[in-house]
Symmetry: C2
Subunit: 389 residues, 2 copies
């Protein structure tokens, strides 16, 4: 990893404060940035992600862009994969219990997460850490000590707990352990700053509280806005089906973005592109957003091709054509946007959902030599491959 | 351990139901006793004790007498030493947090507890088990699973939690873990019956619930009345200073019992002696109770001597005289009632609180040969020893 010079605090703040919702406490951040600049010692920036869904979507990228900004200023960014917390499932913002995932599901999701995250984050400057690393090692006694540092009254200040409690709905006791686990992650890392979505401010402040209770310098809590989903109403979330995954094939991504209201588009602009849309020409701006996001995740060539396809009236049953180099099928599937990752591609093959020229593929290490192939993934996704040596 | 024939259920119930407060569920107990009799297979009876204080007092003996009755019917009695739960301290009936004990304090108290318990229980038929045996081995994941089986609403049905919550006082989150730990003890033991004081019915029912949630046959919960303390008002408890310890020297025990009101005495009779007092002659009955309890814990000889001493007007500065066999000082201290146990005696010696003929004793293995000695323990306890070979 190449060291990046840490700029003066004012230069950093100019970028880091942009678009932030909560900053608790700003003065502390200024002090730490100043010291970090003087000593050229990176701060530890923490953000946690629950591998309860396999896909990173545009909603996540708002937070990841903030992480990237810290990386660009020379800081150490730790991407916490909440594999242990996912055993509970964060109840934040939910009024019902989530069914817990199995360790196997969590491991698969975590791997896909990592592969997708590096499309935004600097792979050289991102540490991926599973929080099972420390949480699985806590004894009952240590958990008792952890739980003794927080009380019911404070816990019920969290909006979703409060609402459920007041309306007489169940709160299972293990749900209270979630914020404590997330907070303990900050203690384990001795984080300088924790980043999260605006709905995470309560949990972030629990980490702050636990660090102080453990005689550590409490972390600064910084949140970014939540991106609304395609429906323009609810927070973008895979479970609500209102999301745009960053690994979705270009036509799907483009089409989904074109489907949102002008108002939603206007709200997305500053969060995704860092600038405002021109309200006078919404259609152009929407296409511009769609093109720019496809370019970000699939490259400029795919973006231009998708824009052209869209402008041509999205010719029905159109099979997109790709020139690719000979090689293993999984890598090719990723290259043409029909798998999120090599492991995803291998899984799809193993599950029998992939065919070449209508013959099912069974080997996940199949080599494609030069030629033309019709690739089918699942029931609907098609691609014409022109394989070159 | 000699097998005891398990009598028919009706014979057992006649004794076991006597003086019981809660019996949840009676029909289940009848069924289990019947099956146990048919197969001559003992039931597993569980009772937990918190080693947060070193001394067993008369209040504990009400419960221990019920345990002894189960032993006399041939059942297996497990005396759970709550060494792990004592890390929290049961908040039941308290409106404030207990300071947690250190593991060292807990170990010392647990040892003293065992030594005293066998004054009531059959040492051959009592299993002493520390609940750290299983609780210390639970992983965070298992604790999450445990906590997921209970919810906040039910927890707040417990009176002391409810009162504290409604009056806005703190409930630290680890306090909710206490009933779950106690309940998990029942799961770990696969208990048939859990015994406890009447204020424990909530915690006992948590065990019942957790067993059912874990697909075990849920335990029967049986509680005995709480003994009021010397003040006649509050539950007997060492921390309230209204207790009579079963290892207190005969004159102290006798004097404390004589100090209670006639009403308190009348309440103690059925709980401690299993019969009613004769209200027409309260003074005689009170002396009878005092004598009988001194006899129970110190023997008939000491009881008669103490009664005579009392009737003689408790001659001031009287130094009781004891004939004892030559041997180690700690054993002699126990024999004359100036230490609760050998380990207690050794501790008192090591702490410098013991003297012989006004010379401090420093060795906890000091042998006393034949002769006459004035033994002093602490500032007030004196005994004249006539040591014979």
């Amino acid at each position: 990893m190449q060291a990046v010079a840490i700029p003066p605090p004012a230069v950093q703040l100019e970028i880091l404060e942009r678009g932030v919702v909560d900053l608790n406490v700003r003065e502390e951040l200024v002090t730490r940035l100043a010291r970090s600049h003087e000593q050229q010692a990176p701060l530890t920036i923490k953000a946690g992600f629950d591998p309860t869904a396999a896909d990173i979507h545009l909603g996540h990228t708002v937070l990841m862009e903030k992480m990237r900004q810290f990386q660009a200023s020379g800081h150490r960014v730790v991407f916490i994969v909440g594999d242990y917390t996912a055993l509970i499932g964060d109840p934040t913002g939910r009024n019902t219990l989530r069914p817990p995932l199995t360790p196997e599901q969590i491991a698969v999701n975590a791997q896909t997460y990592r592969e997708q995250a590096v499309k935004i984050l600097d792979p050289e400057r991102t540490e991926f850490v599973n929080n099972s690393l420390w949480l699985s090692k806590l004894s009952f006694r240590e958990i008792i000590e952890l739980a003794s540092k927080y009380n019911l009254g404070r816990m019920l200040e969290r909006r979703d707990f409060k609402e459920r409690f007041e309306s007489g709905r169940q709160i299972a006791l293990h749900e209270f352990l979630y914020p404590l686990m997330q907070g303990h992650d900050s203690v384990a890392l001795n984080a300088d700053v924790e980043l999260g979505g605006a709905d995470q401010i309560f949990n972030l402040n629990v980490g702050r509280h636990l660090m102080a209770a453990g005689n550590l310098r409490p972390q600064v809590c910084m949140t970014v806005p939540l991106l609304v989903g395609l429906d323009g109403v609810e927070k973008m979330s895979k479970s609500k089906g209102n999301h745009v995954g960053i690994s979705e094939p270009p036509p799907d991504m483009f089409g989904k973005i074109m489907s949102v209201s002008d108002e939603t588009m206007a709200g997305w602009y500053p969060l995704l592109l860092g600038r405002d849309a021109d309200a006078a020409r919404p259609l152009d701006e929407k296409k511009g957003l769609a093109r720019e996001l496809v370019a970000r995740f699939h490259g400029a060539v795919a973006a231009d091709a998708t824009l052209a396809w869209w402008n041509a009236g999205r010719p029905a049953q159109d099979v997109p054509e790709f020139e690719v180099a000979a090689g293993q099928l999984p890598a090719i599937m990723v290259a043409v946007g029909l798998a999120k990752s090599n492991s995803d591609a291998r899984r799809k093959i193993t599950q029998g959902g992939v065919s070449l020229d209508d013959a099912p593929v069974s080997s996940p290490v199949l080599e494609l030599s030069a030629g033309s192939y019709l690739l089918r993934v699942g029931k609907k996704s098609l691609a014409r491959l022109q394989v070159k040596t």
